[in-house]
């Protein structure tokens, strides 16, 4: 009983601070006063009418679409290689794939800037996609390994016993089974790219600012309640994606149960 109360308080402390920004985004004041002096939607209007915010939001989405596709492809390939192929140094290869998660992001960002600059890849769409993909690979890789391990190896063996080649069995049996995990991996890499700040601060220039970079600059200089409006939009957006992902995986699990 006590445990439940303590956990309840901890979870409240984890969640409540985030949702505080939603009421604040409807303030009528230009400062963060508490309690709110009055209500207004002007900060949302301000966000909508400000070219810099909208441009950076769209740019973030474009980059995330391509970067997460690249990390999904590479992360899935690596995970399939680890689970299906026998080779020397597998552990080393795995730590390699997880490395971008462990190396301090500031170091990674500066290092990427340093090697992209001579190639004219800084302040470019391609450079940001390549950089964000690096950070998405470990996320997809870890998720795909978990998914591939969860698949009953006997299903592939049965397919091969019935005359399929190993590769044929992989494409016809394993691929349909890991499809939901690939989609989840893509979504998580997508959210990670959408929210990437540190590497982007170094790689983006004046013409390639993403939404987090604009938010970062806003937080560093003058914070106005537009920031609260943008934050509220992001919170609602993230939760929507999250719920969709949960719904999708549970539906996929149900379909799988029905089929078997």
């Amino acid at each position: 009983m006590w445990l439940k109360i303590i956990v309840g308080i901890i979870l409240l402390a984890l969640i409540a601070p985030i949702f505080v920004v939603i009421p604040v985004s409807f303030t009528s004041s230009s400062f963060f006063e508490f309690p709110l002096p009055g209500y207004s939607a002007k900060w949302y209007v301000g966000f909508w009418e400000n070219g810099e915010w909208i441009d950076s939001l769209l740019r973030s989405i474009y980059i995330a679409i391509f970067a997460s596709a690249l990390s999904t492809a590479l992360g899935t390939m690596a995970a399939v290689a680890v689970t299906k192929l026998a080779f020397w140094g597998k552990k080393l290869f795995m730590s390699f794939m997880i490395a971008p998660m462990i190396i301090p992001v500031v170091i990674l960002g500066i290092a990427l800037y340093h090697s992209f600059a001579p190639l004219k890849l800084t302040n470019s769409f391609l450079g940001l996609v390549l950089g964000h993909a690096v950070l998405g690979i470990p996320i997809v890789f870890v998720m795909m390994i978990a998914s591939l391990k969860g698949i009953d190896r006997n299903l592939e063996l049965a397919a091969m016993g019935l005359g399929s080649t190993p590769i044929g069995a992989f494409f016809k049996v394993t691929v349909p089974l890991i499809r939901p995990a690939v989609l989840s991996g893509y979504l998580f890499a997508f959210i990670a790219s959408l929210d990437e700040v540190v590497v982007t601060i170094f790689l983006a220039g004046a013409k390639t600012k993403t939404l987090p970079v604009v938010m970062w600059e806003n937080l560093r200089s003058q914070i106005d309640p537009t920031m609260a409006a943008v934050s509220s939009i992001l919170i609602v957006g993230t939760i929507t994606i999250f719920l969709f992902q949960g719904w999708f995986t549970s539906r996929a699990a149900r379909l799988k149960d029905d089929r078997l």
């Binding site: 445990l3 303590i6 956990v7 901890i10 979870l11 984890l14 969640i15 601070p17 985030i18 505080v20 604040v24 963060f32 006063e33 508490f34 390939m77 690596a78 399939v80 680890v82 299906k84 192929l85 080779f87 597998k90 795995m94 390699f96 794939m97 997880i98 490395a99 971008p100 462990i102 190396i103 301090p104 992001v105 500031v106 170091i107 990674l108 500066i110 990427l112 800037y113 340093h114 090697s115 390549l130 690979i137 870890v142 390994i145 391990k149 590769i167 044929g168 929210d195 540190v198 601060i201 170094f202 987090p212 938010m215 937080l219 609260a228 934050s231 993230t238 939760i239 999250f242 949960g246």
Partner: protein
């Protein structure tokens, strides 16, 4: 001249997609390994080596002056010390907060509650880091909600500074890193056979004693792996300390960024980054001995 293709009428013609036919080329499966490997090698390994080279080479050639700076001028070791201290505090607080959450997560039987708790842990995990940091700047400022609340309840007479000092950094970082700790603990706790605890209780142990002597020792792998994950991430943390911290508790990542973006001293930045990298690597190497059965890296051998 039209040639007649002879087909055996008993065998139905199989339509094979070109992508599928590609997989017949021998050795092609090694691309699965090589393509991701090459990507990480070029973008991560070579980039980082290129950047670290700057710490020992400058316009005059090979030099150790930047690296010796790290040890002759106290400011760098001091920043490293502050960083280690903050990462350690954040790790301990996260552990204390995450343990009951993960414990309840394995104990609770109803599926609905389980996914509700999991959701409560995961949603903050995926909400933008900048949004969370921004929320804390509003809550922690002198005229912010927390100070107002504490004064109206009567705990405080006047507002205490919570922002731009160590307290702010620790609160913000704990909030961000807590989910990592919960997930690491949960991954290990889930694998613990609950019957062991029941057996201990069946033989007369009080619930509290059964927990201390059976469950807790079994969960130690999770405690270690979670603490390492949080500590290592805490060492390299940038956004939260940059926005919630002040000049007295500058963390090492912030110092590196300032050297690159503000003072444009790349060689010095590279030397400090190398220091951070080596410390991170040392922590990981030490942990490697404790963590041979990390749930993520296990089983795939």
């Amino acid at each position: 001249m039209a040639t007649e293709v002879k087909t055996d009428p008993r065998v139905p013609v199989k339509r094979v997609s070109p992508a599928y036919r590609l997989t017949r080329i021998p050795g092609l499966q090694w691309l699965l390994l090589l393509v991701p490997f090459a990507y990480i090698l070029f973008l991560v390994v070579f980039s980082i080596i290129g950047f670290f080279k700057l710490s020992i080479y400058d316009e005059t050639g090979f030099t150790l002056q930047y690296l010796t700076h790290m040890f002759t001028e106290t400011v760098y070791l001091q920043v490293l010390w502050v960083t280690l201290k903050i990462a350690a505090i954040v790790t301990v607080i996260s552990l204390l907060l995450a343990y009951p959450v993960a414990y309840l997560l394995v104990k609770v039987e109803s599926k609905k509650w389980k996914s509700l708790i999991m959701g409560a842990v995961l949603i903050p995990f995926w909400i933008s880091l900048l949004v969370r940091t921004f929320a804390w700047t509003m809550l922690l400022q002198e005229q912010g909600i927390i100070n107002k609340l504490l004064i109206s309840v009567g705990i405080l007479q006047e507002p205490i500074p919570l922002l731009y000092n160590t307290a702010g950094v620790v609160i913000g970082m704990t909030h961000v890193l807590l989910p990592y700790m919960v997930l690491s603990l949960y991954a290990v706790m889930e694998g613990i056979d609950q019957r062991l605890v029941q057996a201990a209780q069946g033989m007369g142990a009080r619930p509290w004693k059964a927990f201390i002597q059976i469950f807790f020792p079994l969960s130690l792998t999770g405690v270690l792996s979670g603490s390492l994950l949080v500590f290592v991430q805490g060492l390299g943390y940038f956004i939260t300390p940059a926005l919630l911290g002040g000049p007295d508790n500058m963390m090492i990542s912030v110092l590196i960024q300032r050297n690159v973006s503000e003072t444009l001293n790349w060689h010095l930045a590279s030397a400090i980054a190398l220091l951070l990298f080596i410390v991170t690597l040392l922590v990981l190497l030490i942990s490697f001995f404790f963590l041979r059965n990390n749930p993520v890296l296990k089983e795939v051998e």
